[in-house]
């Protein structure tokens, strides 16, 4: 009775080869998912920072700057109640007594941020929360998102492909 046996090496190898083929076809769609999530997370973080800046300008009755430093793929963004600041230096951007939180591109690999605010900084002013008109654009392989600040301080956002935010 030698008719039954387990898998041979060849059979195992063939199964592994098939699995490898299936995995290689599915991994790109998975990285696409990760890219989309990174873009969304970065957009949400930057959007929140602009909203916070406007709210703080109204709350503190002081002009709040949103400073962006970008150098290729690396960028950072922070808030300050003392004019534009260099967010690459620790504890330089301050809101009152506290160091302002810095959003760093290291949290969002592959996502770039470009803005067209004069001198790289937007600002929101009291008493009505008016803002510096301009656009911040976030981009990666998965798509792009835009935040548009109006003179009246309205912060509009859009995304392509659209997700939660309206399409660009």
């Amino acid at each position: 009775m030698n008719a039954w046996h387990g898998y041979t090496l060849m059979e195992t190898l063939m199964v592994l080869a098939l699995l490898a083929v299936v995995m290689t076809t599915s991994i790109p769609s998975f990285t696409g998912l990760v890219d989309r999530q990174r873009l969304r997370a970065a957009t949400t973080a930057v959007h929140d920072a602009f909203h916070t800046a406007r709210a703080e300008a109204l709350r503190r009755s002081a002009a709040i700057s949103v400073s962006v430093e970008s150098d290729g793929d690396r960028w950072c963004l922070s808030l300050s109640d003392d004019g534009p600041c260099d967010c690459r230096q620790p504890d330089v951007c301050r809101l009152g007594e506290r160091a302002a939180p810095v959003i760093d591109s290291q949290r969002f690999p592959g996502v770039t941020l470009t803005t067209n605010f004069p001198a790289g900084a937007a600002a929101f002013h009291p008493p009505r929360g008016t803002g510096t008109p301009g656009t911040a654009q976030l981009r990666n392989r998965a798509g792009r998102a835009e935040l548009v600040v109006s003179t009246l301080g309205r912060i509009r956002s859009c995304a392509a492909p659209a997700f939660v935010r309206p399409p660009c």
């Binding site: 387990g6 709350r59 929360g129 301080g153 939660v164």
Partner: protein, 211 residues
Amino acid sequence: MLIERTLRGHTLSELLIASTIGIFLLGGLLHVFALHTGEARRRLAEAQLHQTLGAAAALITGELRRAGYWSRAREATGGAVNGFADIHVEDDCVLYSYDRDADSSEGIPGSDDRFGLRLRAGALQMKSSDSCGPGGCTDCNSGVWWATTDPASVTVTRLVFAADVHPRSLPDGTSVTARSVRYVLEGALTQNPSIIATIAGAAGVRNDEID
């Protein structure tokens, strides 16, 4: 010594049962993942809605509190009247003025001192100036208005203002009226109108009306 029972591989039925169980487990896992992703998406959308409405409510409160401000009120004597004092409240619209640039010596609002808030086309709109057309200064349709919310992402579905007045008399006979404005602000996500939020607030006007 050799074991008599020979080693066997899996039979077809065993393999099928195993793969069926595997598929069920995988399906369950995917289902949980999909639920989680959907929930995360919903939370993000809700956060966005609350952020927008919160900012709008903060703007409304701040503006209403400032209404009636006149930079020279202290120096004004005799029969001087604060022309900034009037607040006009309609259903979904409120009109007010304040001395924005602190430049009014006579207490008469200039066109760039007249403001307002209203609901139009699904957006909270704010008036930046008004030279008062034929309808006078209590016409919610005159003046230059700007949207402060973006109807592409959040639709403001309801905005209601209501005024409260609390008059009292000072010992010298002057009547002083403390005022406050209540408001209800309701909005929905434009892309998913089933997600709604409501904010009810009240702003005490810091400048009392004096007769």
